[in-house]
Amino acid sequence: MHLKLTRIMIELAITRKLHGAGGAINLNLDVRIGTGDFVTVYGPSGAGKTSVLRMLAGLLTPNDGRIVCDRQIWFDKSKDINLRPQFRNLGMVFQEYSLFPNMTVQGNLEFALQKDQPKSRIDELLQLIELEQLRDKKPALLSGGQKQRVALARALVRQPNLLLLDEPLSALDTAMQIKLQDYILRVHRQYNLTTLMVSHDLNEVIKMSKRVLILEDGIIKKDGPPLEVLPLDNLKPFITGGLSR
């Protein structure tokens, strides 16, 4: 209902058969996401969460349906349109960082620069994630949290208007998770980024998102603000601090 006030950024209506460890499931989604929203896809593993992001990014092709982002058709089975990942203007942060080991921190960011972009964009982002000191270091030298900050900055180089985060913090310890959550929220607000995050961490979902899609067995079981749709019985009591936002 809150979508009525905002412009639609993503229209996603797709089906895709997935084969996982728990057998085959049919992913069947019909969802709209408003511009500037922070939406989390929450659900048990094997529910198809990551596949949703991969289909948005063009790394996985739906069997049928349509994906529209910012009024540009990215995928339309009936019209045989399937834009390659390179042409979908989005930033994606992977669970396992995926920094290029052969490049320095700065090299990783510069790799993402488009032809017409000034190099000052890199300095701006390094400043934002507070990693200017480590710009000449290779990823192997960085801690998990630092790596993920670099990955986040790298995803923002192209100035996308959609940010996809695939369980970006699951490999980090709690203290680092909280710090990174703040970084993500900071860039989300600063660039008015429509952000879609996959997570199975209730605390994180509540702190970060305005809206949660609960995905089970390939379909959205619930859709709404975190406090209304999440199974809060499982929630750790101390996390309520995150709700004051």
């Binding site: 994606m92 995926s98 290029f100 052969n102 030298l141």
Partner: protein, 226 residues
């Protein structure tokens, strides 16, 4: 006086073969590692054939194919004025085919060893397949590239059957070191054969040592240096 031309010819053959195979193998191995298409197994089997066939079988068929008496060789001679049997270019063609799996298979494994997420990350950053190949994939599989080059180079230096079949034994043109050693033994010049053989032995050993040293360094993650 020791005739050094067989050494020169062998090194030239190995270098040219390695260079040509490297250029051919990167795209072929890329296709075999990543593409999903029917018939891939056929191409993989053809690439692997030189591993199991006796060199004489390969050499025999190449000799037939390249001979001006047969269609393909006749075509080359008539339209390109090119005769490949008993010539150095013919040796190169034969060596390239003979050493194909030794370059393609390590590079194919190299492509598979680079995490898929690196390739996908490059794509989502707007980079083409070619840029991703040259800037992300190849630099992160240097060990595999070196192994492919090393095996191809060494394998070409050591070849005998194919070279003899296709190239024959023409001094300064097709008489490589392995053929020269065979020749000297046939002529009972054991001393001369021993000189050639021991030089080849020491040379091969040194090549392997240096490549293994380089390779060990390439495999090691050294975050402190570029």
């Amino acid at each position: 006086m020791l005739d050094l031309s067989p050494f020169y010819l062998t090194l030239k053959l190995a270098t040219v073969t390695t260079a040509i195979l490297f250029v051919i193998s990167v795209p072929v191995a890329y296709g075999l590692a990543f593409a999903r298409w029917r018939g891939k197994v056929i191409v993989e089997s053809i690439v692997g054939l030189p591993l199991v066939l006796p060199p004489s079988v390969l050499g025999f068929y190449l000799l037939l194919a390249l001979s001006p008496l047969n269609a393909f060789g006749h075509f080359l001679e008539k339209y390109f004025d090119l005769r490949l049997v008993f010539t150095f270019p013919g040796l190169v063609v034969a060596s390239v085919i003979y050493s194909l799996p030794f370059m393609i298979q390590p590079i194919q494994n190299g492509f598979r060893s680079v995490p898929v997420a690196l390739k996908e990350a490059a794509y989502t950053l707007g980079k083409s397949r070619f840029t991703t190949l040259t800037k992300v994939l190849l630099p992160n599989m240097k060990g595999a590239l070196l192994t492919g080059c090393m095996l191809t180079f060494a394998h070409t230096i050591g070849e005998f059957g194919v070279v003899l079949m296709v190239g024959g034994n023409i001094p300064h043109e097709t008489r490589v070191i392995s053929v020269t050693i065979y020749d000297e033994v046939e002529a009972m010049n054991y001393h001369q054969a021993n000189v050639y053989a021991s030089i080849l032995l020491v040379f091969s050993f040194l090549v392997l040592i240096s490549v293994y040293l380089v390779n060990n360094r390439a495999f090691k993650v050294d975050p402190y240096h570029d």
